[in-house]
Subunit: 128 residues, 2 copies
Amino acid sequence: MAGAVDFANIAQQFVKFYYEQFDTNRGNLGALYRHQSMLTFEGTPAQGADAILEKLQSLPFTSVQHRTDTLDAQPSSEEGGILVLVTGALLVEGSERPMSFTQTFQLRPEAGTFYVFNDVFRLVYPAA
Amino acid sequence: MAGAVDFANIAQQFVKFYYEQFDTNRGNLGALYRHQSMLTFEGTPAQGADAILEKLQSLPFTSVQHRTDTLDAQPSSEEGGILVLVTGALLVEGSERPMSFTQTFQLRPEAGTFYVFNDVFRLVYPAA
């Protein structure tokens, strides 16, 4: 199943790249979105690469580290889209305590690469 | 924006229905999947309504309650697909302690209704 290997590999490479960029040079993330892309960050929506980058740049922390704990991927469309679900932890400067998060992406193929069509981020608080 | 109201409403109705069925009559969930549907449950994949229902029925708890804490939805395709991200808590019989979970669905329209094309479920453990 070459296709199966591919979408899983692409998802892993994307997630690694995404959080590396997020944690070292957030301004680079704009290149991953298009005008039709959507972000919902903690319930706040943004549409289009410019608005999304503005939202990501405006987040109230300048230094942050993402840790990926789980990553699942599935084909999401006949055109080669990929659905990704990540869970992990976020360590923000000045805080000793990592916060759990979940993030889902839909990646869409474009000219030999992929861009982010859907992006939803949520912090996850302990259930008890 | 009638379309915007619609996808958010459909996502809410779907999630309410899905967890009600899950918690009261799990066998009904098979009707929400098709042969091309995919489930990844805690990293274990299943494809097709029959295999997915078998997986859901085989989960090692007979009594379970889902609580939905957050629900975000975005259009996922030009054909009317909807991406849904849920976070919440799971209370399993015999356990005092709720567990956090996250689940993402892609719903696809079909003859005036929707079915689940993608379904990924993960428990989320405290990050610290």
